[in-house]
Amino acid sequence: MSQMGNKKRIGADAVEEKGWLRAHKWLILRRLSQFGILGLFLLGPLAGIWIVKGNLNYSYTLGVLPLTDPYVALQSLMTGHVPEKLGLIGVAIAVVFYLLVGGRVYCSWVCPVNVVTDAAGWLRDRLGIKGAGSLSARTRYWILGMTLIGSAVTGVVLWELINPVSMLHRGLIFGLGTAWMIVIAIFLFDLFVMSRGWCGRLCPVGAFYGLIGRWSPLRVTATKRAACNDCMDCFEVCPEPQVIRPALKGEEKGVGPVILAPSCTNCGRCIDVCSKGVFTFGLRTNNPVSTVAITAQSEAK
């Protein structure tokens, strides 16, 4: 286990406690999901096996399942255009899905840019890059609002003109062109300029999906928060660290253990890196004010 100075690597305790595989379970599943989805899209153009056609903006699977990006569809709607039937069905399916599993599951389990920004975050941690610029995490909601109003004003699906998410995904499938430069720019921005700058502060796609999943039943919950030993690994690894505190440290304030913040991406990295097994996936309804009893009960087992 390599160490940077005196600092222990994030998740080192968890690896010791649970073994490498279980300490990276959700990360591995997430990468499988991200690359698996990309692989399905690439299977057509590369191997001629057409399971999925299109890209993340709209795809058509096996000639039966339409999926539409609701954010792109909403911008198009703002310009005054109503899509065709398949496009509308695709929106409905996508919205219902993310409503249930959490909107930002799109960010952590589907979006190809997440791999880039996670890589930047990882390298930033390894190189010990600290500080630098900071923008409010609310910036993305302002940008989201601006793109919707802007679409209505210009009559153009506005964010799609520069959206790095669709540029990268479409580029990988239909030909990249100079889109790689934009990807590199985001990587460098996250690495040197601002920690978690793109996904955590600027990207309106993530902001929009966060709003869709505002009341999603599937959430990460700090059920065994009484066992927390304040190692801070979850805060270090979390792409949206502000979402953890209310749930993890809410015992005295009478706040339940479920992470309710819409910007939580349900990535499950906190579950992986916690050596005490504090976190787990659960339902938002299962949110008792006090969790001491639950922790004690499972310790006893």
Partner: protein, 290 residues
């Protein structure tokens, strides 16, 4: 809690400053994006949209850049604009000189579109209007040079309607005809097969957006002969028409000229059936030698 206590007042000020900062920053970004959006509406003349595409202004609001039209095109005609292409990023277009539209009868690209950015009302590909062919260079077109290339005419899927060969005398040789490829815009779909097949290094015939290719008559204009055809008779009472004698300079002769005063028609020079006259110019190598 008093609302005007120094603490809340400072917090309110901070909130307002933060909001103003955010509004300004994001507003700047929005302004830049808006101007870029305006730019992106200027589709380059040689980038053609797929059949059934809405007018560019509506298209950019309707197309969600999914690429299904690209996928369902059997001839790989269409591609999605890359960030560096001067076409709105991610939207489908084609360049006729690379791969033209083959005008599939079932129009799979339109059927694949999930948003009606390609209008599903288009069911007859012959009614498509991707652009209009324009024989843009009369100086290099081989037919204009008096040769019989005819390739653009031959490959046209709407041959003899969208492109005809119009015969005019070749005044250079004085004894040949030139077969000028002539585009009739009401039949041209803008598929681009003519542009693709033009044998020149740079195509002399090109597909342009109708907006660039077409003039527009004043809406009050009436073309006399059309109106006459519609009415089935002359629009005026010809018996009451007065034609004044033409005054010509002394000794001037206009070949083929009808002078109503004398009722005499001057003969045409050099034309079949008229009196023999001087041939205007000799082809090289023929002039002067008996």
């Amino acid at each position: 809690m008093k609302s005007n206590s120094p603490k809340t007042s400072a917090a309110r000020r901070q909130f307002m400053f933060d909001s103003a900062k955010m509004a300004c920053g994001v507003g700047m970004l929005g302004l830049g994006l808006g101007l870029y959006a305006k730019q992106s509406k200027a589709l380059p003349a040689l980038a053609l949209r797929p059949p059934g595409a809405l007018p560019e202004d509506d298209f950019l609001g309707a197309c969600i850049r999914c690429g299904l039209c690209v996928r369902d095109c059997p001839y790989n005609t269409l591609e999605l604009a890359k960030p560096e292409t001067p076409v709105a990023t991610g939207t489908p277009y084609f360049n006729a000189r690379n791969i033209p539209c083959e005008m599939c009868e079932d129009i799979p690209c339109v059927k694949a579109c999930p948003t009606k950015a390609l209008d599903h009302a288009l069911t007859d590909i012959n009614k498509a209007k991707m652009g209009v062919a324009v024989l843009i260079d009369h100086e290099t077109c081989l037919n204009f040079l008096g040769l019989r290339c005819d390739v653009c005419y031959r490959v046209c899927p709407v041959i003899d309607k969208a492109i005809t060969l119009d015969m005019v005398p070749n005044t250079r040789t004085g004894r040949h005809a030139m077969f000028l490829p002539t585009v009739h815009s009401e039949h041209c779909t803008g598929c681009g097969k003519c542009e693709k097949s033009c044998v020149l290094e740079e195509s002399a015939i090109r597909i342009l957006p109708p907006k660039l290719a077409k003039g527009e008559l004043g809406h009050h204009y009436r073309v006399g002969w059309e109106e006459q055809k519609k009415a089935g008779q002359s629009m005026i009472d010809e018996s009451k028409m007065i034609d004044l004698p033409d005054r010509l300079p002394e000794g001037a002769v206009l070949p083929g000229h009808y002078d109503p005063a004398s009722g005499h028609t001057e003969s045409m020079r050099g034309m079949a059936g008229s009196e023999a006259g001087v041939i205007p110019s000799h082809p090289p190598g023929l002039g002067g030698k008996p």
